[in-house]
Structures are given as C-alpha cells and as structure tokens.
C-alpha cells in the first residue's frame, strides 16, 4: 500500500541489546569471516615480497614482526580465526541437526574457548618484541 509507513531498519542495530545468542553468533561469524578473507589478501601480498628475492622476504617479515602493533594484531587475528573456527564447527553441527537445543550454549562456549586461547597465546606471541 502506497500510504503505509515503512519504518526501515530502525529496529535493527538500535536494538542490539535485545539480540539473542543466535543473532550474535551470526554477526560475529560474519565479522570474523570478513576479517579472515581480508587478511588472506593482505597475507598473500606480504608473502609476495618473496618475488623480490630472499632478503626482501626475510626483511619484510622480520621487520613486521618487530613491530608491537603487528604482534597485537596477530593475537587479534588468532582470536578471530579461533572464533570463526569454533563457531564454524558449531554451525556445521547445526547443519547436521545436532544439538540444536543447545545452540545458545555452544555459542557461549565458542566465545569462552576463543577468549581462553587468545589469552593463553599472549606470552608466545609477545616474546622478543621490541617496543
């Protein structure tokens, strides 16, 4: 009807507090997926320094690794990857129709595992980094 009123998407993100587990899982999965594919492109770009010769490659990589931000970003990347993987497994289970009733619990579990692995990896990732 022409004279009806379309409220657009006002209820979408303005309502984030009311989102349920499944919805959050979807948003996070999307976000992490995009980060990962973005990273894949970057990653190949960085590795392409190998085309300019072994030294260029080693220098680029080690130069980047010397940067504190890069280390922090790496922890972030790990978290993103782990979450995407854990939730991906959850989604695969959902696809197989396993444990649908516990879908919210498994989402929280993915979050916890992600957090735990990210925290546990900090010492390893932060070794030998200059400030």
């Amino acid at each position: 009807m022409s004279q009806s009123y379309n409220r657009g998407l006002i209820e979408d993100f303005g309502r984030w507090k009311e989102f349920s587990a499944g919805m959050w899982a979807w948003i996070f999965h999307k976000f992490t997926g995009w980060v990962l594919i973005g990273y894949l492109f970057t990653h190949i770009a960085v590795l392409s320094s190998a085309l300019a010769g072994p030294e260029a490659y080693t220098d680029t990589l080690q130069g980047l690794e010397a940067l504190f931000v890069v280390r922090v970003l790496e922890v972030g990347l790990l978290a993103v990857a782990v979450f995407h993987m854990m939730n991906g497994i959850r989604l695969l289970m959902v696809d197989l129709g396993i444990g649908l009733d516990a879908q919210d619990k498994t989402f929280y579990l993915s979050l916890i595992v992600t957090g735990a692995i990210a925290v546990a990896s900090v010492p390893t990732f932060m070794t030998d980094v200059g400030f």
């Binding site: 009806s4 009123y5 379309n6 409220r7 979408d12 349920s20 587990a21 979807w26 696809d95 197989l96």
Partner: protein, 304 residues
Amino acid sequence: MSTQEQQPEPETEPETEPETQESPADPEMSGLASPQQRRLQRKAANLAERERQAAEDESNLEEDTVHLKVFRFDPEVEDKQEPRFDDFHVPFERGMTVLDALIYARDEYDSSLTFRHSCRQAICGSDAFFVNGSQHLGCKTQISELEQPVRVEPLPHQEVVKDLVVDMEHFYEQMHAVEPYMQQEDLPEGELEEMRQSRENREKIKMSTRCIWCAACMSSCNIAAGDNQYLGPAAINKAYRFAMDEREDEEIKEHRLRIIEQEHGVWRCQTQFSCTEVCPKDIPLTEHIQELKREAVKKNLKFW
C-alpha cells in the same frame, strides 16, 4: 481486582530514538534448552516475584497500573502522520495480558487505537506485536512478565498500515508460494478409506502443523528483512509439513524440495535462530529448515 482511580489520558510524546530506550530483561539469554523449559523457569520466577510484590505493597497505586507506550501512526489523521508513541496508564489486574491492556486502553481512553485481535487464546495469530523489543502474541504475554513501561510496536520489517496493524500481504504471498496443499492424487480405493499414516510420521510433522500464521518469525528474521524475496521460516516450515508427510509420493516431495531450494529458499537461512526463539507455538523452525537443506543436498547428490 483494582478499582482505584485511574490516571487516563494518553500523553503524547515524540518518537524516541530506539537507541535510548531501556533494555528489558532478556529472557533469551538465560541459556536454557527449549523455549518450553525456559517458559517453565520464567514462570517459577514470576510466581515468586508476584508473591513478593503482593506481600510488599498492597496499597501502592503505582504498582497497580500498567504503563503502556504504544506506537501510533495513521496516514490520514494529521497529528498521527508523523509516527509517535502514546502513553496509557491502565489499571492492572491479575492475569492481565498485553492484549487485555490494549483493549482497556482502547475502550476507555482512545477508541481510535487500532490493532488486530480476535481469539484471545493464541490460535488466530492476529496479534503478534513487537513488545519491549521482541515479537510476542499480545494475548499470550502476561503483563506481569514484562518490565515497565511496556513498549508495544507493530511488527518490524512490515509496512505499518495504522498503529499496530501491519500489511500482511507479503507474508501471505510467501506462504502461498510453497504450494501449501496436499497434492496426492492417488487415493485409496473405496469411499471411506483413509490414507494411512504411521504414528511416527504424524509425530514428525506435528509441530510443523501448529503454525498460526502470526508472522512473528518472519518479522524477527534478519535475512527476511534484507532479502524481501526470501521465503521465510513460516513458509519453509509449511513446506516441511508437506515434504515430510509420508502420505505424499516421492515425486511430489521432490517437487517440493525444488521449490524450497530455489535461490530465495532455504539457502538464505543463516541459522540465526531468532525465528525459533519467538515462535509462540514453539515450532523448532531452524531445525526444520536445516533438515530441508540436508534433504535438498541429498536429492541433488542422487543426480550426480
């Protein structure tokens, strides 16, 4: 039963930004298994709450009124063309539902308050509203379970015709699109012979047949909001109801799978579970959609 003076008269207030509104308790976050279980638990909590409240303050008038904030819009009436929220203060009665409160507000304060409703018992599916930020049937939602003020809005993602009334045409079209009728031509001989169906098979389709076409699921689904052509959980569930019914032959089932595996069909579903959460009939919608995805894949694999 309270008989005290009410403070009537809707006050008008400009539409507030959704961001600034108070968030009600989120029952979905409680992490219990099924909606059924969750309801039972909520029920226990509410009973305790009611008792506590009753004991605490019997005479407090404030406690005994319900504060409703209702979305208003009318394309024809000048001061309603710009959507707004009206406040109503309705005397509370034990057992009062959101629908009861709306009816009271309409009959006592403002006859132009418009919403669909009929059966008052969760079977006609006309009164799905957006209450405190999620989809509920008005007649099935106890006021005592909600945080105040109770915000009542029309279903999101559907055009608003007036006040709480949304345009359901698109929803009906999607329901019709899955050919929602038995197509078995080959009936048993004999005038009074029924088709046979095993108890297990009836059990399998039972939940899916409970749908009351309230559109709460469709309105909650983010994908349906983005892709208008997406069949949506209710229509897919309707397709499931027939695809899984053993009374229809295998070819008909294949035909049904072809309908739901088209581009705007099951593959669109991102398993957000919002539909399952809000369905007032506790239909495991996501589960049904997922099962159809697997059936469709199986069928396609057969051709390879």
